[in-house]
């Protein structure tokens, strides 16, 4: 006999552990951050409620200079979408065409994703070393001495230098997502197009790319939100320096939270990041929906 109440109770009981985890790990910390963002708190005493003062200070303080960090994050997001993703797509398209050694190439391109950012950061610190680094040594060896720089110490080039390893590291990740999408395509779609006389480039442009649009949407969301949240590589390479030239919202947040003991202001940046990631994810979804 069907008993609706018992049925709903079962559903509730089975969902309860996941609900507890979801609320405890995700919702509660966000709610706590939102509360702390309205307080002045050094992390040790009793938080003092100050309303929206932290938000006002965040966007007006020259000392914090959140706009510089946001500008850097947006630049990273744009370059991720405009350089990292097209490059990953090209690799995925190429590798999915039964290239000799396909598995090896996949493993090699994916390797940077598996290696710790700290290790990659240290590797690039060595590459960028102004004295013995591979980059300056190469430039000197080809007579381009005037192009040598203190790559991570010159505020005019430091962020650009940081962008290279950040973009490079995750090419393999997006490539794998797209590769999986392409491999999941029914073979007859491509075959039919080829029989109709399409070139490989036309097949890619008119058949493959539209087919993997959901994957591309996910990649764009990951690239943009990942850029906004990006932290580890910058922390290792420059820790936001020189003179905050490479600061991102997350490095600024860590600085305020743990070096300056401004837990209220740090939480304000955390809330801002959550809102930004959410808004951008919505906008990207909307953009892909409209295209459809």
């Amino acid at each position: 006999m069907h008993r609706p109440f018992s049925y709903k109770l079962n559903i509730f009981l089975f969902l309860l552990p996941a609900l507890i985890l979801f609320v405890g790990i995700l919702i509660a910390p966000i709610a706590m951050s939102a509360y702390y963002s309205l307080t002045e708190w050094n992390g040790l005493g009793i938080p003092k409620f100050i309303g929206l003062q932290n938000y006002v200070e965040l966007f007006t303080s020259k000392s914090i200079n959140i706009m510089r960090a946001l500008k850097n994050a947006m630049l990273l997001a744009v370059l991720s979408v405009c350089i990292q993703l097209p490059f990953a797509l090209l690799l995925a398209l190429k590798l999915s065409r039964h290239v000799k050694g396909e598995r090896w190439y996949l493993a090699i391109y994916f390797m940077p994703v598996l290696i710790s950012s700290v290790v990659i950061g240290q590797l690039w610190i060595k590459i960028y070393n102004p004295e013995y680094g591979a980059l300056n040594m190469f430039l000197r060896s080809v007579g381009l001495d005037s192009w040598t720089r203190i790559w991570l110490g010159d505020k005019n080039v430091a962020f650009g230098a940081c962008l290279v390893p950040i973009l490079w590291q995750y090419v393999g990740y997006h490539m794998l997502l797209m590769y999986a999408g392409i491999k999941g395509m029914p073979a007859d779609l491509n075959e039919a197009a080829m029989l109709d006389g399409c070139t490989p480039a036309q097949v890619s442009w008119y058949i493959t790319i539209p087919y993997i649009r959901p994957i591309l949407r996910v990649s764009v969301i990951f690239a943009v939100t990942g850029s906004l949240k990006s932290f580890d590589m910058i922390y290792v390479l420059t820790n936001g320096g020189p003179n905050h030239a490479t600061e991102l919202p997350s490095t600024l947040m860590i600085n305020l939270l743990f070096l300056r003991n401004r837990y209220g202001m740090g939480s304000t940046i955390a809330v801002m990041l959550i809102v930004l990631c959410f808004v951008f994810a919505m906008l990207i979804n909307l953009a892909f929906k409209e295209e459809k």
Partner: protein, 414 residues
Amino acid sequence: MKKLVALMLAAIMLLGIASAVAEDVTLNLWTIAVESDSSYQTFIDAIAAFEAAHPGVKVNHEPTQNEQYKIKIKAAMSAGTDLPDVFFTWGMGFLGEFVAADRVLNLDEYYPAYQEELPVNMTANASYDGKLFGVPYTMSEVVLFANMEILASVGYDHIPTTIEEMNECCDALLAAGITPFGVSGKELWCLSEYLEPLMIKSVGTERLIKLYNGEESWNNPDVIAAVEAFQNLVNKNYFDPNAAALGNDEVKTNFIAGKYAFYQNGSWNCGDIDKSENPAKFQAGLFPVLNADNASLYELIGGPNNTLAVTATTEHKEEAVALAFELGRFMSDADYKSGANLPCWTPDPDAQVSDLVSQVADIAAKSEGMVLFGDNFLSADQANTYLDYIGLAYAGDITPEEFAQGMDDTLYNK
């Protein structure tokens, strides 16, 4: 049969109780003495000596690298859980915030037992409202390390004693293709090791303390003169042009390898310099006076700073307090002998120390005033803003006047 079972159960229970009674007390100790730190081995030795003197007490030493440690201890203090029993800390502002939050044990009732060996004047930076909250074990001061072989190569047999002579010496070094000063522009506190001695030798001890306390405006000619002198060092290319990309360890290694003539940093570097192939070529001195009307050569940046404190929540108060004091005493003595730092505790009169450590100790003995490092003196938020301004001044992004005005505006809302 029932009696036998009951007896066996009782025996098991007694055994359990007995083993619980005999169980070791484990004290958790957090420090910054990672393996590459000059105090690492001293800590290991000090802990071994403590454990030998206190059977049944084990010390679980958890070292963390300096910058990460600051984050770790603050996060733990903030959460108030999983705190160590004893922890390393810096005095004044750093420890002060934990004290204000009641996270640190007051040591007043334990101090008299050690007062004879640990003079009261050494406890000032760990005392708040007249109450002692930490066991200082070493003091340090900013000194100007010089490579005398390099100086001799440009005709100097001594560390320049006036600003004019220092400039001439640096010009001669540059002409000979040698970088005068090594500094890490990547670690802002290293820049403060150059600016603060200039500051104290321009404004004097008392006024520098007033500046840090917000009792005097930074916007005055003497502060501006100090920042100008600092920026002159940069503008004249006296610093390593690659400084912005170098960490302090790299700079120290370069100095020891003979890349720079001078390296101005804390006296804790003596141990590393003494380990070099030819330590005799290095001397410790002081940066010349900037304004003789306000300051003298022996007005110094530094003071008792490296401190051990006991958390208020420790479950083993007596053992933890003993660990803090006894480790402090051991570290003070051993760090002094190894050249890692100057002692806060009365040193062993027969201690054999290197020439470099003797020179640093001699400078401390002649001290006519001492002000703690600015980033330790100030609160965490103020200290980081202050270091930011120093970084901006070093990069030439702000003028000395903007530095002074910025300090007033940002730190003290004047």
